[in-house]
Subunit: 307 residues, 2 copies
């Protein structure tokens, strides 16, 4: 039953072979269970990230509501460009101001209030092309991989460039991954007392660096404290995480999802967000011999709730 | 068998009653398993912190070796005061310089090298009064509490003011708590490539704020992403963590360990490190009705490997 949505091709064999070897006490590649840690990117690796990041849609919807109630905000060129979906114009009008607007959309509320807002939105928001909930557009083959890893004693973490609290709002429900196993970009929260309760209030300020590129290994160390032995990603922003995993002392597997299926999903190169000139991850993978998964050829089905 | 090292007194009943109520689907205080999260302070809550923090001894031993090889370092007044065990004199000679010396003791090495150094040291270093390994001076009643919680479906985290990587070096071995379930103070690590490998190098700089006082709830949110329902601590530095847990929407239990047993361990008030003028935690606990555990009266035995 494991990996039943995968076609019988080399990438499926590579995954099954690796998991079997590290779990087999008699094998040369055996890895003690304490070291069986897997880290998986989220956007484009576990769920659909096109035509826009799910979280970007979430933030823009909030910004639209704020602008509707605030004519001064609505009139600003950055707001108008963002709400028209013109990222280039928004950046041209002021990259710093754009970032501040996006971060302010959910500032001032508590972490617990944010979780509720995100959960409610994710329970209703639909994908513009597929018409289904974003939370239904997880990749069936990757959910099977998560199950396979867990059955083999792995602890499985999501390591996302997206906002950690946004992903935590659905990770347990859609991946079976609890909030503490999500590592991501974060905003600062401040300690406060409100009505006799201690609460943590979201600030309009990024905590440290966005979790893409070299910060991914740094944050994996900060959060998990051990080098993982399996990683999966789909963009140049995952490169350092994949290299980190493959340059440890233990057997390892690096998996790259190639979005080459315009018919069932999307076809696009694996570029990074923060460094668009970085080598596309497919080229890095070919050079370093990583396991490349073709969505078109390797996956018998793409989304989780298809028949 | 559970809590067998606890005497039959109110604090034992309070703990057993709470765990039973939140785990009983028919009870008014039932808490779904996804929300059963416990956070435990380390020094003075899970293991002995007197006459000095274990990690302080670890750092000073390294500093002594560095001073032996570096006459200029050895001659500095701060070094001499630190190695003489005179913290007040070291602070008087220069609080900033003292901090820098302590942070520099393990800077420049990788996170993986640090883990090895700490593990090796902890496998040999002995307590000055008891003559036993520090890692043997864990509290038997608290290890039983960890087991009880885990059996009841809790995820158990150590939330320490100490260095997260130092505690991670032993947490799995002595508490059965994996490194990713340890939250603590941290130094910055930097991304580097050495001999073709990606490594993370320790810097002589604290990451954010030390994990004591209000930063404890902030770091719990950053790391775990949910408000816990049970917390245990023993100093004013744990106060905000305990208050955070007790001011949520779910049933909760706050436990304070009172070190009142000079004969078997030590007797001292629960003051904070970073704010010595803060209300001792025993007074806060009495005022807020938290569960106070008397080491002398509530614990039939103190350390884990006693008969």
């Amino acid at each position: 039953m494991s990996l039943s949505s995968w076609n019988d091709r080399p990438s499926k064999s590579a995954i099954l072979g690796f998991v079997a070897r590290v779990s087999d006490e008699g094998a040369a590649d055996f890895v003690p269970v304490a070291d069986r840690i897997a880290v998986l990117d989220n956007d484009g690796t576990l769920w659909c990230e096109r035509p826009a990041y799910v979280q970007a849609l979430f933030i823009l919807e909030r910004l639209a509501k704020q602008a509707a109630a605030d004519p001064e905000l609505a009139a600003r060129p950055v707001t108008r460009a963002l709400l028209a979906g013109d990222l280039a114009a928004a950046q041209a009008a002021g990259a710093g101001e754009m970032m501040e607007l996006l971060l302010s959309a959910h500032a001032g509320i508590t972490a617990e209030e944010f979780a509720e807002v995100a959960e409610r939105w994710l329970a209703e928001a639909r994908h513009p092309r597929f018409g289904r909930l974003h939370s239904e557009l997880t990749y069936a083959p990757m959910l099977e991989l998560v199950d396979l890893l867990r059955d083999a004693g792995f602890r499985v973490f999501v390591v996302t460039g997206g906002g950690v609290e946004f992903v935590r709002a659905v990770s347990e429900r859609i991946y079976g991954i609890p909030p503490e196993n999500v590592v991501g970009s974060a905003v600062e929260v401040s300690f406060a007392r409100r009505d006799g309760r201690i609460v943590l209030v979201r600030e309009a300020k990024v905590l440290g660096s966005p979790n893409e590129g070299p910060p991914k290994p740094v944050n994996i160390q900060a959060h998990i404290g051990k080098r993982p032995i399996l990683a999966a990603g789909n963009s140049a922003g995952d490169r350092e995480m994949l290299e980190y995993v493959t340059t440890g002392r233990l057997p390892s597997l690096a998996i790259v999802i190639d979005h080459d299926d315009a018919e069932r999903e999307y076809a696009y190169a694996g570029n990074a967000v923060t460094d668009p000139d970085a080598e596309p991850i497919g080229d890095t993978a070919a050079r370093l011999g990583w396991t490349v998964v073709s969505m078109r050829d390797d996956w018998a089905r793409v989304f989780a709730d298809e028949g």
